[in-house]
Assembly symmetry: C4
Homo-oligomer: 248 residues x 4
Amino acid sequence: MTSAAPLARRAVAEAAGTAVLVAVVVGSGIQATALTSDVGLQLLANCLATVFGLAVLIALLGPVSGAHFNPAVSLAAWWHGRRDGTGPDLREVGVYSLAQTAGAIAGAVLADAMFAKPLVSWSTHHRSAGHLWLAEAVATAGLVLLIFGLGRTGRERFAPLAVAGWIGAAYWFTSSTSFANPAVTVGRMFSDTFAGIAPASAPGFIVAQLVGAAVGLALVTVVFGRRDGHRAATAAAPGEQELASSRH
Amino acid sequence: MTSAAPLARRAVAEAAGTAVLVAVVVGSGIQATALTSDVGLQLLANCLATVFGLAVLIALLGPVSGAHFNPAVSLAAWWHGRRDGTGPDLREVGVYSLAQTAGAIAGAVLADAMFAKPLVSWSTHHRSAGHLWLAEAVATAGLVLLIFGLGRTGRERFAPLAVAGWIGAAYWFTSSTSFANPAVTVGRMFSDTFAGIAPASAPGFIVAQLVGAAVGLALVTVVFGRRDGHRAATAAAPGEQELASSRH
Amino acid sequence: MTSAAPLARRAVAEAAGTAVLVAVVVGSGIQATALTSDVGLQLLANCLATVFGLAVLIALLGPVSGAHFNPAVSLAAWWHGRRDGTGPDLREVGVYSLAQTAGAIAGAVLADAMFAKPLVSWSTHHRSAGHLWLAEAVATAGLVLLIFGLGRTGRERFAPLAVAGWIGAAYWFTSSTSFANPAVTVGRMFSDTFAGIAPASAPGFIVAQLVGAAVGLALVTVVFGRRDGHRAATAAAPGEQELASSRH
Amino acid sequence: MTSAAPLARRAVAEAAGTAVLVAVVVGSGIQATALTSDVGLQLLANCLATVFGLAVLIALLGPVSGAHFNPAVSLAAWWHGRRDGTGPDLREVGVYSLAQTAGAIAGAVLADAMFAKPLVSWSTHHRSAGHLWLAEAVATAGLVLLIFGLGRTGRERFAPLAVAGWIGAAYWFTSSTSFANPAVTVGRMFSDTFAGIAPASAPGFIVAQLVGAAVGLALVTVVFGRRDGHRAATAAAPGEQELASSRH
């Protein structure tokens, strides 16, 4: 990660972005449950608010810190770029993860404050079951495949809409509503509201997410082939042209 | 189909993309029916999850395999490009179709697994009637017209949003909720949930889809004119400028 | 309108596009009323299907015919470009309008057919009141201001999303749910369903739309200034840069 | 603000844009409450109409006036650009603010007229509490950070979708449903409907918004660093490349 912005400023961006992301997730859940008793509509509001907010945050903060907002993504970025120095080093991953986690907690507290709830109330929403862990692994694997797959074909510019779209779909098609993010999982422990997760359920989710991230990295190689070490070359590879040629 | 990625890798991309697409369609249907009893809201959730997921999958996998995820589209690509070698050959269409169908079935099973349902349960959702077949033909004709029409004016880059938008509209304006895809139709037989289709109803849908694809190819010629054999020429034709617009 | 595609092919594009547009509007209304009894949700489904469909149609057919799908827009295009020959002539406006109206009627019939309704049933949905006509005038004025305003600043490439977004907003913020289109108004007379309009109410709507189009053309001049005859010059004018400079 | 369009025309654009924005917010609230009794669905319709309308207005009028539609943004633009002359001067801020406020009031009256309501009826919707003011400050701070942050990385072209997305998220994740705009707050006093605000509650909202704008400006510096006086330099800084993305 040859980065222009100093690490401190990047960490601030990661913390701020993750804070707003969790505030959106938790806050919209509170608003939705206050306004309707239809749980489907509650999830729809929660989902759309997250899609809007996440796209905006990635578009805004991507140029500063890469807009990971997610320790699983930061870790995957290290692994994916470890050979050619295009990813962060492990120290940066550590700083990012701390900033993301601190931001996530702050975001949950901020959401509670905006809705005049107790600032911290441990969630009692238990989410522990094999099918939920499978869902988290699927959601995170897809997220990692998406982020690094876009990178492999030189289309990172799609990330704001694509990542938001993926999470929007995964809200519905995974049984866990797709946390897919260890820092956000921790943050969501701190609010006993719609989007919360009981602390006892968090470790299982986080393990599943990390397993999913590893699966996602493997899928990147299976679907996009081995990296030839030189990103620019990949971006200009004929594979890109093939999309065009196969569509007319 | 002069393609950079080896056929095996393209087949993996088609299988993976179709699997996730069906997992999104089936899984979001399960989630929606679990959370609300309003069928309109169920379809809205199902529709939006599909729009989000489909756009992401096309954006991600288009550069690898063309992101057909649909035997009717692969077959149409062969027909449309058969004279100037810009489409797949029939062997590639066969491989694609098998990969898409296998992926679709796997996606349905994955959705069932994520929601702790029996992995396979034949759908009992009967969908057999003339007006439904008309709807499938209309939806597939529009899909084919869209994909190859965008190609004829050199705007394949719009495909992720445009194809997703078309399916999103067709969820509502067709009585069949727009399957428009033989592989997805097969996959949806494997889950006795909201988005399922009874095996006995599948052949009728698939025939209607193939008829629709043929109609769509005819419409491409009617609306966009005969191909002059040379794609670059078409893309640069003055017709493009007449939009008064798109390229300034 | 110096156009590459022959007028006949452009007329086919206008007819097909308007047909699908009306099929989307009418069909999604039928589907929505069949699935939910919440009228707010019915309008939401109707609105989103229209937004998706309209954006796709403009993106697809813009390069062929300009994607007006609307006699009020075709007429405004003639007026706006009458001095420097950038718009259609009146004969083309006539052909377009006929094609649009025929397409609109066909689209309503197609929607009825897809839902196994009588192919033609005159709508009994009365929509006659001063505040509804005001709403139609506002919706159409905004539509015309949008289309030609984007053209005046060389940003016609935004038209698919912008026009769809405008109609999506106007579904809700106008009391008439924004027909904003004489051809679509005629088409919607032919289906006695959610989106229909009683024939007796149509003339009032159409007059209001034409008044709105005239107001919209006046607003183009008020907001974007007089044309300096030469479009390229306008597009490169410093006004474009000002957006940038006022935002950082 | 080195501007091409004369100030009068820019003021018209600001007035018209803010008028339509408030008409969308107020009108969609009236429509939604007329069609459904589910308050969650009412807010969803209100939110989506605003997202659509706001994106369109910024895309259309940005090149003319900068598309602020918001005195807090105009004031922030003056502060942010005060040293290098890239922002408006205080006289322009005054003219803009008057135009925006007049437009906002006109928009509320227009919405009432379109729905056959009394043209002016003071809202009785009381919104006065510390947590609501916190929400307004958060929403406005985020808005200012977004607008000027995009500017600092040369991505103002994202503003239409990004600003609309931010407001769309903030409708749900803030307890105040994110007015985030002093002119719109004044306009919403004039309609005793879903989106209204009692005049007595307006001053608290406006103060919170101005505090939020100041916080947002501070965050711009914290997250994006000090301006190095020269915009082109910033836009080309390596930080942009670090997104690993956006410009390939």
